[in-house]
């Protein structure tokens, strides 16, 4: 079960080298994204598109907001 985190925990994880993935469409990612994030839109999540991520290391996903 994925853990829901808030900004403080996110910053800790990023400082420890966590991988950060924005799952919004590419247009929104190009407009603005968190520094160091990479973009894999939700509709494109697959074994192939996540092939560049380390499966044994923490990964954090985010979209626009909780709504």
């Amino acid at each position: 079960m994925p853990s829901r985190i808030e900004v403080q925990r996110l910053r800790e994880l990023l400082a420890q080298g966590a991988q950060l993935v924005e799952v919004l469409p590419v247009e929104e990612f190009r407009g603005e994204h968190l520094t160091a994030a990479q973009n894999i839109p939700l509709k494109e999540l697959s074994a192939e598109t996540t092939g560049g991520l380390r499966r044994s290391s923490p990964v954090v996903v985010y979209c626009h907001d909780a709504l």
Binding site: I5, V23, L24, E32, L34, T35, S56, V60
Partner: protein, 152 residues
Amino acid sequence: MSPRAACRLETLGFEEVYDYVEGKADWVARGLPTEGDREGERRIGQLARRDVATCALDERVGDVRSRVEASPYGFALVVAGDDIVLGRLRRAALEGDPDVRAEAAMEPGPSTVRFDLSPAELAERLDRRDLRTAVVTTPDGTLAGLMRREDL
């Protein structure tokens, strides 16, 4: 959207998956670093004024009145918990029976705007509805402050 993405990553074999549920809106409004075409653009969450009077549900209207008079506005916001905005006490209510509780006198569910709007976006919204102020909240309804049209 992100909960589904987090779940999908787990099904793909990722061992340690986290979901930053408040997302980009939260990050941006905190003024944390971003990249992209809108990088550096200011948001109303960073600009909102913190000088609006607030009160609890069970406070007497008469006790709230002095705080409103000391503020630049003619109203108070009724909040609960961690400053979740539940209502607004307008001038007419504040000038009424001083013994009435805020909960009974408030206008429930006042309109709010999200704190990651740009100043230009908010100005357009206010002008369209001929409003002079906007209550700014986080995505979970927590009061971030107030924006005045004249400050945009």
